[in-house]
Symmetry: C2
Amino acid sequence: MTSHPTANEVYDMVRKRLPRIGLGTVYRNLELMSESGIILKLEVGGTQKRFDATVESHYHIRCSVCGKVDDIDIEVQEEINETAAKSSNYKILGHHIEFSGICDDCQAEEQKLH
Amino acid sequence: MTSHPTANEVYDMVRKRLPRIGLGTVYRNLELMSESGIILKLEVGGTQKRFDATVESHYHIRCSVCGKVDDIDIEVQEEINETAAKSSNYKILGHHIEFSGICDDCQAEEQKLH
DNA sequence: ATAATGTATGATAATTTTTATTAAACTTTA
DNA sequence: TAAAGTTTAATAAAAATTATCATACATTAT
């Protein structure tokens, strides 16, 4: 899937097929899958972690109103890691860009109120 | 300060001066201060939120080993918001870059083991 | 087949982090 | 200096995640 569900949202989806599955099983398998590189665990803004079926490097945008997370399809900035390495004594491993904005659904909601 | 303490770390620091202060008071005031723009609330990777005394736009790096968060002093990419706006139907509000890496302390730790 | 061993599960408890509640202490205003 | 307003510490509650463990399920060996 292309959405970025939280563990609870995955639980709700999976339960439609496997009604007796436990939330712990969902957490455990999401963790195992992200450890083995099948999925990504996103530590984006908000209170919950989110999971991403696309493991190739890409960026995200998070709606400041509803918290929804979507992919942002812009070019990955490979060179920025070297730039960062020059002005830091960390060994740079990678980077992630998180945009914040208002999704079209929430923009429409806002319009309704005026 | 230039570090990026969690609420609990702030609590520990403040308690040295005000031993009877409560953790709730720390959370409440950090929240109020970030709402009014005196400080930043960082929603970076890891399980806890962190707070930043520097409110001017800048980027961060997080140590994958110990979780420490530092500033990365590279130029802020103003134009990237417009790039993102073109390939998204979100109304873009801003962005944040979080690098991941290994801090010098943890690099030194690693050396010790060899 | 079936017994023995290994692995994953659901149920539940425990932990961690943050937010909410509230009576009392402190401040400001009248 | 009394009344009203605000902030606090203490505590409870909520939200998210991780740990525990007996049992169910699957695999392998006999």
